[in-house]
């Protein structure tokens, strides 16, 4: 019987470093040739990210040194592109982040479909350096660019009935190869990816509607062209490539909650004292570090967000 293997390494990974670094020159030089969107060339075809100007925020920044840009753009969980950490960077070019619209709707007085460029100009952009803690036990420090989600929410005036905010990621198997069904799709998440926050969480000043990082527009593998960043929650709560923001009364069911309700709760606040059912959350490995470090309550943002959960049993509402 044949054992079907995935290739051990992508051909893109065995490119010599020097060649890899000169890939843009190579692409420019061979522009006349029509290169098919093969696995090897896909990563190289990603256009260099444009700069995105933003004022560094004096208050919202952690002192830990930012993670290497290369790590942040090649080590991703973005199952729409594939389940391996390298898949999002390999297939990134298949996503078209422009033109792009975001529908803001539901229980609000001024629903509207925003064109991305309009959204970008609504409020001044700031750069904030946040910790990012993945539920898998690793973490990064990333300088994001965006404005508080609260600014947008206030602008569309949610009604008194709005209790939760639901985020929906783009569904398009042509752009997201991970959304394609095939013969060996034994297991898949439900698409489109849905996430949600309580309205007060969404309105919290830390919650950032994000358009860029490291001084440039978001790379596709990091959730281009617009995502949220909720730094006190596990990374999967921060929905990427958002096409819809909806105000609702009932708590929305999130994709990971549907996939494994006993493992990924609606809140999913970073909490070293509440283990994932299968592994400990007490420590994390900061990408670039050798030793693990203790995980901080609410990812180190306990002073700012602790009051949101006063009186709640965080073991029950994990």
């Amino acid at each position: 019987m044949l054992i079907k293997r995935r290739p051990d390494i992508a051909s893109s990974e065995i490119t010599a470093r020097g060649l890899y670094l000169s890939r843009r020159a190579f692409i420019a030089g061979s522009a006349a040739l029509t290169l098919g969107p093969s696995r090897a060339t896909a990563a190289a075809e990603t256009p260099p990210a444009e700069p995105l100007a933003a004022k560094p925020s004096p208050t919202f920044r952690v002192d830990d040194p930012p993670t290497k840009f290369e790590s942040v753009t090649t080590y991703n969980n973005f199952y729409e592109f594939g389940v391996d950490k390298a898949d999002p960077s390999i297939y990134a070019a298949s996503l078209r982040p422009r033109p792009w619209t975001v529908r803001v709707e539901g229980l609000c007085a001024r629903p509207k479909t925003y064109d991305l460029d309009e959204l970008l100009r609504l409020f001044p952009l700031e750069e904030r350096v946040y910790r990012l803690r993945c539920v898998e036990g690793w973490s990064m420090v990333i300088p994001w660019i965006g404005f508080p989600l609260a600014s947008l929410i206030k602008r569309v005036e949610p009604t008194g009935k709005a209790r939760f905010v639901e985020f929906t990621t783009l569904y398009d198997p042509a752009q997201f190869p991970g959304q394609k069904k095939n013969l060996i799709s034994f297991s898949s998440l439900e698409w489109p990816y849905a996430e949600g926050l309580r309205l007060d969480e969404a309105l919290h000043p830390l919650t950032l509607l994000t358009f860029g990082m490291y001084g440039r527009v978001l790379p596709n593998q990091n959730g281009a062209p617009v995502r949220v960043v909720v730094p006190w929650k596990y990374g999967f709560k921060s929905a990427k490539s958002i096409v819809r923001i909806r105000f609702v009364t009932e708590r929305p069911q999130t994709t990971w909650e549907k996939a494994a309700p006993n493992e990924y709760g609606f809140y999913s606040n970073v909490n070293p004292t509440v283990d994932h059912p299968r592994w400990s959350q007490a420590t994390e490995r900061r990408i670039g570090d050798f030793r693990r470090r203790p995980t901080l309550m609410f990812n180190g943002y306990a002073d700012q967000v602790g009051s949101l959960y006063a009186g709640m049993d965080l073991r029950k509402d994990f």
Binding site: D8, Y75, V83, K85, A86, W138, I184, W279
Partner: protein, 218 residues
């Protein structure tokens, strides 16, 4: 099979089994293990263990299904490679990931089912590796040796469980490996049942058994 054919076959298998380790070492020297090198190395070594273990479990079904037996000479080689990768996988966990944090590791083995079954799989492979020499086969006697080495089925199931219990939802490879393992064990089970039924029919007919027991092991 001729001696030169056997040497060629074994060389190919040696090379194929060493390749993942070689790639890992090359990437290590080139500082190209990615953003999370420890996790990458652990995953590659674990994945390779599973693949070689599954490969070693395909040899007998190939014989049962197609009546070919040249591949049977690879059992020890594949088994020992699977064991070696399992040991490397475990070593990275102990030395690099946990940095000899014995209380922490013991707690994990007790508390985390995926680590418990992973440890079980590795532990079960130890006596198999230890009795892999021709001398040990002779010392134990063919029947005992075969019985002991049936533990590899338990180890295989434990290893696949280890992988499926640590993998997140949405991944297909645990299901793929589990399907392959189920098929491989299924061929053996089916063969046993068929043989038992065949014997019964033969006995009922009052004729001597025509079944030939193929020497060799599980």
């Amino acid at each position: 099979m001729s001696r030169s054919a056997r040497v060629a076959l074994k060389s190919v298998v040696w090379a194929a089994c060493l390749l993942p380790l070689l790639m890992l070492l090359l990437k290590f020297w080139a500082d190209d293990l990615g953003a999370n090198p420890i996790s990458y190395a652990t995953n590659v070594l674990g994945d390779t263990t599973l693949r070689i273990l599954l490969a070693s479990l395909t040899l007998t079904p190939l014989r049962l299904l197609f009546g070919i037996s040249w591949q049977m000479s690879l059992r020890r080689l594949l088994g020992l490679f699977a064991f070696s990768y399992a040991v490397l996988h475990f070593t990275v966990w102990v030395v690099v990931d946990q940095i000899f944090n014995w209380p922490g590791m013991l707690a994990d083995i007790r508390k985390r089912p995926y680590i418990t079954v992973g440890m079980l799989a590795l532990t079960l492979l130890v006596p198999l590796a230890a009795t892999s020499t021709t001398r040990m086969v002779k010392r134990l006697g063919g029947l005992n040796w075969r019985r002991l080495h049936r533990l590899v089925y338990v180890a295989g199931v434990a290893a696949i469980l280890h992988f499926s219990w640590l993998a997140k939802k949405g991944r297909n490879d645990p299901y793929l490996y589990a399907t392959i393992l189920a098929a491989l064990l299924g061929v053996r089970g089916w063969h046993r049942v068929a043989r038992a039924l065949g014997k019964r029919r033969v006995v009922a007919l009052g004729a001597p058994s025509t079944q030939k027991r193929v020497a060799g092991a599980p």
